[in-house]
Symmetry: C2
Subunit: 238 residues, 2 copies
Amino acid sequence: MTDLQSFPHPSVAVDLAVLCVEDGALFCLLMRRDDAARVGGDWALPGGFVHMGEAPETTVARVLADKTGLGPGIHFEQLATYGAPGRDPRGHVISITHIAIAPAEALRAGIADKPELTLARITVDWPGETGGPARALAQDGAALGLAFDHATILGDMVKRLRGKLDYTDIGFAFLPRRFTLRAVQEVHEAILGHPLKAPPFRRKLTDRHALRPTGRHQTGGAFRPAELFELISKPEKE
Amino acid sequence: MTDLQSFPHPSVAVDLAVLCVEDGALFCLLMRRDDAARVGGDWALPGGFVHMGEAPETTVARVLADKTGLGPGIHFEQLATYGAPGRDPRGHVISITHIAIAPAEALRAGIADKPELTLARITVDWPGETGGPARALAQDGAALGLAFDHATILGDMVKRLRGKLDYTDIGFAFLPRRFTLRAVQEVHEAILGHPLKAPPFRRKLTDRHALRPTGRHQTGGAFRPAELFELISKPEKE
DNA sequence: TTAGTTATTACTATATTGATCAGAATATGG
DNA sequence: CCATATTCTGATCAATATAGTAATAACTAA
């Protein structure tokens, strides 16, 4: 233990599931690989190595900026760490995976000029919080091949999201500062994978989360405009 | 990316919070450090480095066996990964922390001949799932100094346990195969930090978890003997 | 002005949870 | 053998939370 560097040891990376909700579906940012045959699929989560002396959260911010061009202000949190020796055929890489969440508009705008990136629809076979792998779909519904163990990671990510949705404010990270309650409902439906009734949902939402009605209303809609709400953000805690 | 080993990179370790419940309190296995001045405290979670080509779960099993003499069959799961560069003053060590749970009798028996190990009572200041650091107490109630960021880790561990208690079978990992419902209640009370009423608890427990009454009863008690139950173990899933 | 559609509130029914009470089972002490 | 203390266990009742349905409000478009 005198010299931590004297023996070869696994590399450490972060992988990011950058998410948004659009048209009632959950999307994840994927990056095209040019070594698909080697890594098991054409598409992978963006990631990068944790440098010596760098906090993993710093690596996350760096990868977000370098590979996707997205700035700070985006919500992220740790998911889990995957370190099986065979998960990366190029060597033993231990990956600290994170979930990052942004409003769809911000995300689309940020990656518009990056052809190697795509937003893939994420679906799972299993109900509730059963657990299992996820699938990534292209716009035309074709399945995208996922590299490494990223199908497993995305499955665990959906499971985690479903669990935290009710008891934390994580769902609001998908929305801009002002939002309608219907928009929140669509986020929940996309993540949970089944429709919800508006009245009970709206009640639970206003009971459990600190929301402030702004008095302003949505514009441009064809029918009765919905009121815009704000989340009363709590002092920083996980 | 051609040679993953060509640049110095952080080391990877696992740290283990090995837990049990005894006399209505939560205990964690701690290891005495002989370098307290350097690492910030006399006591630390047992841990070890992840070797090249080794799955972190294998490291957990190895540390469990090497440092505590405990065999397999003990429940464990990943908690979170801590990697701030300053957390270990000896170098940049990224730690994948795990929770391990065993019945108190098994744990006491396993470490009886290991003077460098102790079972410390774990307490937290905060209610519910607020979050924050934990404290470790000796038998006489004196606070034990915790090394590294282990007070934070133990706080996060308590928060996690509290969250999973109702919705998973994790509480049963603290108990032997056959147990009374009162024993389960004591586990929950120790983790939640407040007393529970027996009738509602018993109902929720039998509703949410698959329990089988064995027909056998506890022996040796002074009053009405409680029935022994078994957990109907589900097929392996997290 | 009316029809069409969505947002929001009001109301009702159901399920879940919490607390109290009463009977059952056992050892102990008279 | 009987009363008593104590815990286990199930039943009962109250309070709360949740789900579903219906009614009303607000707006656009024709």
